[in-house]
Amino acid sequence: MALFPFHTWLPDAHASAPSEISALLSGIIIEVAAYAFIRLAFSVFTPNFIIFEHSLNILSGLSAIAIIFGSVLAMMQKNLKRMLAYSSVSQMGYIMLAVSISTSAISSSPWSGLAPATMHILNHSLMKGCLFLSAGAFIYRLDLHNISDLAGISKIMPYSTFSFMLAAVSMIGIPPTVGFVSKLYIILACLDSKKFVFIFVILLSTVLNLLYFWRVIETVYMKKERKQLSVSESAHGDVPTSMLIPMVTLASLCIVMGILWLLKVPLPLLDRINYLFNLSMGVGL
């Protein structure tokens, strides 16, 4: 699942894989590992297992490092897909952090137990899927891999850049996107389990996310293109509709799903998961 310190394969895999594979890789494949971990931790072992708590403490520490470390490395990347890959490392840190504090944050509140973790698994795949698909669209149409080459591309590919922007804003965690809801739930879970240092980690990561995503958004929207594109290249416009539909769907889901979370529509399901793993207070539905 590319958790620090065993994350180094992920950026390399992303940089060379085709974008549709990248979207699956970060959107689904590494989440499978998170799912497997949850299964293993809560179905095979039990929360009462003696060394369980200690290992979860270690895990939460590792996740915190992953969150910061992944973001810092993402800031240093020139290649867009490598940057997104390091961002995935950081986001897996969020998920594992949420998993590791789940046993100490059991209450009757909506953010108890595994709810933030499962929520962020879905949210992350929406955001990261959209980001990789848009990054792929830039490569498909104009063969642009580096962030600095993307200057002024919003005029040529308005829909792809718009989806990228929505997903990036969601990664930063501006309300009412899915990223914001995840942040809200994880911080509340941290408060409930009295692990205040992680709140600081998450908020610091928000600022770091802003720094490296805004670099891209600024280049795409505000800068004038440095390289003059040939007429045939710019005349093509955006990628074909069949490529646009999934991208735009995921981007709009980043907002729609965020509002649905805030309306607590899918929460009974999360409560059911807690119940399944004996993490519920029994007040559930």
Partner: protein, 512 residues
Amino acid sequence: MICSDFLISVLPETVIPLIAIFSPVICSVLIVMFKNHPNLREGWTIITSVICCVSILSLIPFILKDGTISLSLFTIFPGIDYAYHVDAFGLIFALTSSLLWIIVSFYSIGYMRSLNEHNQTRFYFFFALAMFSTIGVAFSRNLVTMYIHYELLSLFTYPLVAHEETREALSAGRKYLVYMITSGCFLLAATLVTYWLTGTTDFTYSGIITINSASKIVLQSLFVIFILGFMKAAYMPFHSWLPTAMVAPTPVSALLHAVAVVKAGVFGIIRVVCYIYGINLIQELGLGVILACFISFTVIVANLFAIREDNLKKRLAYSTINQLAFIILGASLLSPLSLKGSMIHIFFHAFMKITLFMCAGTITAITGMKYISEMKGIGKAMPITSISFIIGALGMCGLPPAAGFISKWFIGLGAIDSGYTIFLFVILIASLLDAVYFFPIIWTILFDELDKGNFDKIKTKIKDNKISVTLMVLPLLITAIASVLFFIFPDTLGVLNLADIAVNNLFCIYGG
């Protein structure tokens, strides 16, 4: 007023705040749809700003009868609703923003057209969305709703700050956003800790945090985090984004960086001091005096920075920092009079500062001058602009016949009333420093020699662009006249009464 009376009699009062909040969103969609028809596009902005303002005006009589309007859209967590409510204090802020939005809309049409700015659709689009966020902040019922609007405000104002797309504008935009999002993080943390401690985040007259909520030191540090969360108020040492953001087009500086954004920060601080902590608790924790001392530093030092600055807009920015600190100072003194002074200063300062900014923008748009040292004697070529500038400048110094006198008077009275007379001296010294940097500008504009060639050039430029110049000069004349009007009749629009109601509500509980 007749129109607004009609509105409240026809519609249920819970719908009207929703109209005020969400009409700018609809407007922004219309602006994008009509992006190829500039006249229609700007028409939508004007129409919406009028609708927004009328609906807010129509709420005044209702609130003056000591009513409040409360509506909840949905529940986020137990104890946290996504909810709006209208009370006297929020209404003052909403009224300020929406009234000035109309005026700035006209001004920005003139400004953008006479400078032939690029990306005008984007400009109007984000301007409308920024207004949505501002009015949302004013009408929020709890901290979470406020946080949501506060973050959106940061995001939506970024494209306006970086509008010029030059290297300087882009770096200003980056700086702006980093400051805003960082402070947003602090606000989120403080909000959630408050929720965790008390189980609610609603604004109430007695405050929701009590001395038993947590230990003293926790409550004090939480307060520090709250204050860090409102960096929009541009207090020192976190002020530097504001002068940098002055690279934005003047309508943005005028409305957003003199009224909406910075006042949202100040508004938030007053909300936290009076409605989250409550005046009793702030006094008990000794936070009022600490905040007053801390903010006095800004009151004085911002003016020292302003004296040194030759760029007119940046000097005005430092003056804004100073005046914002005044408002916070008034709130931190915790006396009814100074609190009232703070609340009406939000309203009065907005009118005066927007006059000054619009004057600066008009001078730049017509003559291309940005630095005070260049503006020798232009008052002879632009008499109306100069007189309006003088009125605004007098208001900043707290001198009659501008409304700034009244609010400073109340804050000064409050300083004596609170027993910390030392802060009266802070106020007086700061006002003196205001004069030190505003009077030389007046001197330069009015009494220095303007050479003949320049005079003719300005006159022909005014003659050539009659419509856009009129669109720029008329709004600033209106706000200048309004500043004088509010001095003579401070209770026009019932602002003084609204502040009275807000203060009475807060202090009734304090007294009993």
